[in-house]
């Protein structure tokens, strides 16, 4: 398992370097540069272009960048001049990962509960309600859920929230997290719920469950101790793609709520042609997505000792 984890992690790092390289080369083909501003005179712009080595052919820039990458140096920002990209991004990484983790918890908690209830009460009204709620949830774009939540919190629930979520008042209070996290996480809970329901229904028909019943175990013991664990395996299969989508979906939600995270910075950096920033954020996202996927795959042997990695 350790070798597996190492091999997969290496593949993640390799993949991240490959795609980041593609982005590195790609952004340099874009028209315009970061120094086309009224406040920068043409001679200053030329100086800056020389300072950032943008006047060199891209293969040489690339070699320099790769060299820096292996020393953990992703270069300086073109817009916030003289500041290392990683220093600038550190607080934003915390914001984005925090939001992502909160959203993933929403997805998992809501999804598993909906799926569990629907699965053990198959074909009863509660199943139909939960299953319909699941399809509805993943058919609502996160910006629609955000809209509804904002409308709700600014009218009916104003007493509770004081509308603290959607103004650009800085980020960092705990009370600001729930609304964006629900907007980001809720759509995918439907996918988790569907998988969970199918898993529960599949497992409930297995022989070992009949044995458990015949031993006189209570329903909660049968479901929680025996069925649940096996039903979680197909859920884990889709958890990787779901986590990926949530992490990148943060891009949209950060823009909606004005949250100063990586996603907003990414779009800004493209628009301002801050190449080092674009490439750095892309690399970080690739690494996060990869690491999340690997860690989720490592859950398999925990759930099912028969699975060896």
């Amino acid at each position: 398992m350790v070798t597996y984890a190492i091999r997969r992690t290496l593949l993640v790092v390799f993949g991240a370097i490959v795609v980041s390289s593609a982005v590195f080369i790609g952004v340099r083909q874009l028209p315009g540069n970061a120094f086309l501003s009224d406040r920068v005179s043409p001679s200053q712009a030329e100086e800056l272009i020389h300072y950032y080595h943008l006047d060199e052919p891209w293969p040489r820039q690339y070699v320099r960048w790769i060299g820096g990458l292996f020393q953990g140096d992703l270069g300086e920002s073109f817009v916030y001049r003289g500041q290392s990209v990683l220093t600038l991004l550190a607080p934003k990484i915390r914001v984005s990962l925090g939001l992502g983790a909160a959203a993933l918890s929403v997805t998992v908690v809501v999804g598993l509960s909906l799926g569990l209830v629907a699965g053990i009460r198959q074909n009863q009204w509660i199943d139909y309600t939960a299953s319909t709620a699941a399809v509805v949830s993943y058919s609502l774009p996160n910006f629609f859920i955000a809209t509804l939540l904002v409308l709700l919190t600014s009218t009916a629930l104003y007493r509770l929230t004081h509308g603290a979520f959607y103004y650009e008042i800085g980020w960092g209070q705990l009370s600001q997290i729930p609304v964006p996290a629900i907007a980001l996480g809720l759509p995918y809970s439907g996918i988790v719920a569907r998988q969970m329901r199918a898993g529960i229904i599949d497992e409930l028909r297995q022989d070992y469950v009949r044995t458990a019943w015949s031993k006189g175990l209570s329903e909660s013991a049968v479901v929680l101790r025996h069925v649940m664990r096996n039903a979680l395996i197909p859920v884990v299969t889709i958890l990787g793609p779901v986590a990926t989508t949530i992490l990148t979906g943060g891009l949209v939600v950060e823009n909606i709520f004005g949250i100063p995270g990586l996603g907003r910075e990414f779009i800004n950096s493209i628009l301002t042609r801050d190449y080092n920033m674009t490439v750095a954020i892309f690399t970080l996202y690739s690494l996060f997505v990869g690491v999340v996927n690997v860690s989720i795959d490592l859950l398999y042997p925990v759930l099912d000792p028969k699975i060896r990695l």
């Binding site: 795609v19 198959q122 399809v135 058919s139 774009p141 600014s154 229904i201 891009l251 823009n255 996927n293």
Partner: protein, 296 residues
């Protein structure tokens, strides 16, 4: 061509008949899927109509007070530039359909091609394709699509290519798995023994039998693509305004949410209903094609 090929071909045709029959009974039993079909029909009609006629020209500004609420003349109200929202939602339906269907088809072509190659020839071809797939899964999709659109311009065809670029893996993996299992079947073996060429083996014997799952996957892809385009447009990097993309309209409306919520609700409800309809139909198709699911 040998005598042996005829019975095999006959069997394929009969199976296709059974497939359609399954589809019909399966869908009839599932009223949510039927409701989905009705909604899709409405959206398609709106989209097709918008090409030749909308109540007001889609881009015409200053039809009344900006942000005016729903009224008889403008059932969905007006947006920030005084444009008729009903007309724009109809125009948005056309864009959504083009993106959805276009992506679905393109993904099917790419996925079938790569999946078939990997599953049919196995060996190093399979290794290469599978490795690409697993690396590709680790790429942040929305970021790739954003960059692609920024690089190549925000035209509809670029958006379709960008979304396909992030969504082909599921289809390829599915087709690969199907091909791997189907190529070992007796009737494929028989056709091979009769000297059928690889191309015909794949096109006449394997592909038709993998059609069910491929269609289901393509149906699920459609709403994903529509949603993806809406995300891109919401971020201001989708179809160029003033083209009436639902995502752009929702983003515009979100800024006025405090005093004119209809401007965000109209496009958001349109997109949600469309996605819901396609997901219902997808579920119905899946149940219809997969008898094991139907029994549950």
């Amino acid at each position: 061509m040998s005598v042996l090929e005829h019975p095999a071909e006959h069997r394929t045709r009969r199976r296709r008949g059974a497939l359609l029959a399954n589809l019909r009974t399966g869908l009839r039993r599932n009223w949510l899927a039927l409701l989905g079909i009705v909604i899709i029909f409405v959206v398609l009609t709106a989209a097709a109509t918008s090409v030749v006629w909308t109540p007001y020209p889609v881009g015409l500004q200053g039809l009344g007070v900006p942000y005016a609420g729903p009224s008889l003349a403008h059932p969905f109200g007006l947006d920030h530039a005084g444009r008729d929202l009903l007309s724009r939602v109809m125009g948005g339906a056309a864009i959504a359909m083009v993106v959805g269907v276009g992506t679905s088809l393109l993904t099917a072509v790419v996925g079938i091609l790569l999946g078939m190659l990997a599953g049919f020839y196995r060996g190093w071809v399979d290794t290469v394709v599978s490795t690409i797939i697993s690396i590709w899964y680790g790429i942040p999709d929305l970021l790739v699509a954003l960059l692609f659109v920024v690089f190549l311009g925000r035209g509809l065809q670029n958006i379709i290519i960008a979304i396909t670029l992030t969504r082909w893996m599921e289809m390829a993996r599915l087709v690969r798995g199907q091909t791997l299992s189907l190529r070992e079947r007796d009737y494929v073996e028989a056709a091979r023994a009769a000297g059928t060429r690889d191309r015909n083996l794949v096109l006449r014997h394997i592909l038709p039998n993998a059609a069910g799952p491929i269609i289901v996957q393509a149906t699920y892809l459609l709403p994903q693509a529509i949603l993806f385009e809406a995300f891109l447009s919401y971020l201001g990097l989708g179809v160029r305004p003033p083209a009436p993309s639902w995502g752009t309209m929702a983003a515009d409306g979100f800024r006025a949410i405090q005093f004119a919520p209809h401007t965000v609700l109209a496009p958001a409800i349109a997109i949600s209903l469309t996605l819901l309809a396609f997901n219902w139909v997808g579920d119905g198709l899946r149940d219809a094609f997969d008898p094991r699911m139907r029994q549950q």
